[in-house]
């Protein structure tokens, strides 16, 4: 029973750096409603189960991200959303400040390709992930 309750209400951290956040926000909005799947975005990492890394991570932001991840209590999951967080995306060729993929910093469970990730695939992959 506790496993079911954990699965059905995976609370994501309201974390976002750049463009993928707008798709994340569309998920919270009315058309693709996040809340009907039990996902309530939380502001504090202490209350979150899931971190959807939406947006490019730069070297300046990297320590903050790792700290947020460490502050999340177990069991915690990471969905790397978008090309920027998988491999650095369009900033992976020459950028001097982008981290090439968030899996260099934290352990990632699911990789969502896209730039930005379309809102519907996020829901589909979330179900597959569960």
């Amino acid at each position: 029973l506790s496993n079911w309750s954990r699965l059905s209400s995976l609370w994501p951290l309201l974390y976002a750096t750049s463009c993928c956040f707008i798709e994340f926000a569309s998920l919270i909005g009315s058309r693709f409603d996040f809340d009907r799947y039990g996902l309530v975005p939380r502001s504090s990492p202490r209350q979150a189960d899931l971190i959807l890394t939406a947006g490019t991570v730069t070297m300046k932001m990297a320590p903050s991200l790792v700290r947020l991840y460490e502050q999340m209590p177990e069991p915690k999951y990471v969905i790397a959303m978008g090309a920027c967080t998988i491999t650095g995306g369009m900033f992976s060729t020459d950028s001097y400040s982008t981290v090439r993929g968030v899996d260099k910093l934290i352990h990632v469970d699911v990789y969502l390709p896209g730039c930005p990730v379309h809102a519907i695939p996020i829901i589909i992959y979330y179900f597959l992930f569960k």
Binding site: A16, S18, I22, A25, G29, S43, T58
Partner: protein
Amino acid sequence: MTTRNRQIKNFTLNFGPQHPAAHGVSRLVLEMNGEVVERAEPHIGSLHRGTEKLIEYKTYLQALPYSDRSDYVSMMAQEHAHSSAVERLLNCEVPLRAQYIRVLFREITRISNHSLALTTHAMDVGASTPFLWAFEEREKLLEFYERVSGARMHASFIRPGGVAQDLPLGLCRDIDSFTQQFSSRIDELEEMSTGNRIWKQRLVDIGTVTAQQAKDWGFSGVMLRGSGVCWDLRRAAPYDVHDQLDPDVPVGTRGDRYDRYCIRIEEMRQSVRIIVQCLNQMPSGMIKADDRKLCPPSRCRMKLSMESSIHHFEPYTEGFSVPASSTYTAVEAPKGEFGVFLVSNGSNRPYRRKIRAPGFAHSQGLDSMSKHHMPADVVTIIGTQDIVSGEVDR
């Protein structure tokens, strides 16, 4: 009964890069005197991705998606700035239909941006319902983006020489139905907020900017018009077909957050008006400049003739060369004046593309706007300035 004298000391509060005010990554260090903010120091750069340097290694067409991603809420405005800069250097004439399509989509972008800005601002103030309502409208607009370009957000649609593809059948009819119902949606949003006593208490006389301060700090767009300076690039330096359209430019009086909120609402209504005028006046014709060295031919023609294949191959691989020159082109993006200073050295890659982002200038003013306000007001001041860290940090 005696009261103990307590000393209140200043302390520094880190308004960190991750906070629910949801405007990207912006870190503010607030020096507080009790509950009141004495100084707010923005620490930017957490999203600095080296866009301008990356662009120097890409051709002009490959550099276009970087413009989408600088201000990721109003995509086509940036694309338009980049494309206009390149066209100015090339001295290339954009066909009339393409100009109308550009203005149409720029106004759609303006509505989309203002819906997001106003309602995330409302969410920061505490009203969570306008967010849900406006995002439904935004989904319809993103659907128009997707129908015309294939991508909901980062369209890469406005390209040097014109636009990428012609409007699909039925799109104009759907945009027209959207405009007919959108004014009622704005009315609903206004009903929730404009006359609301709590809203007014939170917004009136907070974050006030005088006209002189706005000009000194380099504000543009709504921030400048809120303080009473009537400066809109669509009127002051008309580009594309703006001289044939007839919008009103709302201007505020007091320079506080309430004025800016009202201006954004009114700008959404004016954008609807511009969209309707564009749909009525749009001519038929070409949507790309006739220069085959600049604009690739359509795919069906590419498959039919050898010359078209070459003309398709060249822009996408080597790119087109731009004469050595420099230009500063600015457009009235929803957030303000988005400018591109493009220097070319005659090759197929830009030598330097400096981005003048409105959010960068606005974030300078954060300190003076937040003085002597509460931290809760600081959050909403960030919202009213419409700061998006993608364009501040690039």
